[in-house]
Subunit: 411 residues, 2 copies
């Protein structure tokens, strides 16, 4: 598979992070000659928070994670690629439970301290009969240096592994954050799904982790779209090993704690980095597109409008054709159902204002706009002229390759 032309020039190098070790294996779930099973284990119980798909047909592993999140503690995370264990009925729930029990036996913890994620083919039973032995081996082999291997093991249609790392000071003590992600389509339930696992050695209570995650997900992972299709399996987990407490970092138990500010900012940056890496690997993508809406009735209204533009097949095909087709942007604003002042609407492609005061900008140069559209990264800015609401989302273009990837085969 060809690596996306929008891929980062280099991969982040993730340092070891105190309190977490990992290992991967080739379990032969679907793929030949590559890893497809990841065990991440925590030396002491990590605190954990999560955000999941809003699909009403969520996969069995999502249900297991939601249930176990109530305890707020994790000793192990098991991720497999090649099979999503979604729409697999009662047997699917059993497979997720068996996986958790096997991991619990391997690392010596309760099954309710294990979190599970699966990505790949939907509707196929997931054979976990070999997981017991494999997880035992992985538990023994786990070490602190496996982040790149971990990122590779969870890939499906991804053309490159997605990693990010950050650091922040909490009350004078440096802590680290490492994250991996996969996804290449907002999601394609055959072979994709958005998964991300972020780990820090900071010491943070579960409810604070959940607040941090919820605060940052809206304008990062929930502000990207490739094709508007939402997986049955999307899973984002944030874990804190607390190992930095051994270096003097305080335990944060209040989301309003001022010591948390730098960490929250670093976490947000890391989540945005990973989210944009997913868009850059969008199926068939040749252009990365940032859509900024301002002047809306509220921030939420701005996001609705921005997503309407980002998900419009006509806007996305125009971008693929390097066509500064602002008429389609007007169309997508109009169909969003949020207030927009047609006769005050302004639209920019890059720095080129193409529309103003409800019509084509009289100073608009087709040549200048065309030059913008040739870039691999394109910013579209829309002022809807109502109030002060603003939001930014990211997407990619819709190319024939997207149709080929998703249509040129029989399942």
């Amino acid at each position: 598979m060809t690596i996306s032309p929008l891929a980062p020039q280099s991969f982040a190098v993730l340092p070891p992070l105190d309190g977490v070790r990992m290992a991967t294996a080739a379990a032969g779930i679907k793929y030949e000659g590559r890893t497809d099973l990841l065990l991440m284990r925590f030396d002491e119980p990590a605190t954990i928070a999560g955000v999941f798909t809003q699909s009403l047909c969520a996969a069995a592993p999502v249900e297991l994670c939601r249930a176990n999140l109530a305890g707020g503690r994790a000793r192990a995370l098991v991720v497999n690629s090649g099979n999503a264990n979604a729409f697999t009925g009662r047997r699917g729930s059993e497979a997720a439970q068996i996986t958790a029990q096997a991991a619990a036996a391997a690392v010596g913890c309760g099954a309710e301290e294990v979190f599970v994620a699966s990505t790949g083919v939907i509707g196929e039973p997931l054979d976990v009969s070999g997981f017991g032995g494999a997880l035992g081996t992985l538990a023994d082999a786990a070490d602190a240096d496996g982040w790149m291997d971990a990122a590779r093991a969870i890939m499906t249609t991804d053309t490159y592994p997605k990693l990010a790392t950050g650091r922040a000071s909490i009350d004078g003590v440096e802590v680290r954050i490492n994250g991996i992600a996969k996804g290449a389509g907002m999601i394609a339930p055959d072979m994709a799904t958005m998964l991300s696992f972020v780990v820090t050695d900071a010491a943070i209570a579960p409810n604070v982790l959940q607040t941090l995650l919820s605060d940052s997900v809206g304008d990062t992972f929930n502000a990207i779209t490739v094709d508007s299709d939402t997986s049955t399996s999307d899973t984002l987990l944030l874990l804190a090993t607390g190992a930095a407490a051994g270096r003097g970092a305080p335990l944060i138990t209040d989301a309003g704690d001022p010591h948390l500010a730098a960490f929250a900012e670093a976490l947000h940056g890391l989540m945005k980095d990973l989210a944009l890496q997913i868009v850059r690997d969008g199926e068939g993508a040749r252009k990365m597109v940032e859509i900024q809406v301002k002047g809306a009735a509220s921030d939420a209204a701005a996001k609705t409008i921005a997503l309407s533009v980002a998900n419009s097949p006509l806007v996305k095909t125009a971008i693929a054709g390097e066509d500064a087709n602002w008429g389609r942007v007007v169309m997508a604003v109009g169909k969003a159902g949020e207030r927009a002042h047609r006769d005050r609407l302004q639209i920019w492609f890059g720095d080129i204002r193409v529309a103003v005061d409800g019509e084509r900008d009289p100073d608009y140069s087709e040549a200048a706009a065309a030059a913008v559209m040739k870039n691999p990264e394109i910013a579209i800015t829309i002022d809807v002229g109502v109030a002060d609401g603003a939001s930014t989302v990211w997407t990619c273009d819709l190319t024939k390759d997207y149709v080929a990837i998703n249509g040129d085969y029989r399942s």
Copy 2:
């Protein structure tokens, strides 16, 4: 342009209809060598009802129609193709007004009795300076036999003209209904937009016409989608000349009048016929798809789910690839946000049940499902297992040709 492989085998032949005459001209708005201007005139004031785009950036002609609809009477309808007169600011409103005034002068009525629709390029000023002379000529030339010419004059990216005719008895008197439509994409604001004009010689009060139209639009024109993109210009007008009163037909002033039942049924059939002709001309379409959802919490919930499936790029590309990919259907059900019982969900492609009780149907034959997917017309049935709500929508597949039509050019 190649005619859609899904086009009807033959075109309906529309008989003259008492009280309405029409003519077309090549006004050179954008196209060379074809007609692009239609005048439809009514010998006596026709009653009129309308349904329009819900876009908040509606085009100037839509605003004019909405305003004139308050009077409930029409003497003339002017439609141009090649330019949508959308997002054209104050000059656009003036152009629509000038058009109405020119038609009023040509047929001898008030400007408030003229209705206007435009379809084509968005954002370009519409030059109406020649409309006065053209409309005068058309008013003189108008005759009762111009339906096919009318259907051709309003086409943009359509690959064939869309016509339908029906008849019904009102209190023993036969009345006729003729309709034309255009659209080839739910809409593409460059070159498309859904327009439909339906005329009957029945005598029906405007408020009753509006009720009839509103009752029938939900499961006809509002149950089709090509690409989920809503035009700034969608316009559906229903006009009644009342000429059948001369043959003894009663004036219907009450939507509950039992004499109206057969007419309402015929109108509904004609609207559905035209709506499906639009889907069959969907940009790049190779497959016509009927999506029937049942077992939903309500009919409205069923429609939301059906549209989620119909608009999913992953479902539509799978259909293009003749792939019975029910996992993507599950995904689209799950993301719709309406209640679905994951473990009672059933899915059929044609007569082949592929999923039951929350997992792959154990009796499912891939070969049989694959055979269904090779057909040019495919029915997908989904029972979400919650209650009795049901809805049917129609769409087409998403092909590389759609991307080519909408992306392979510079504006």
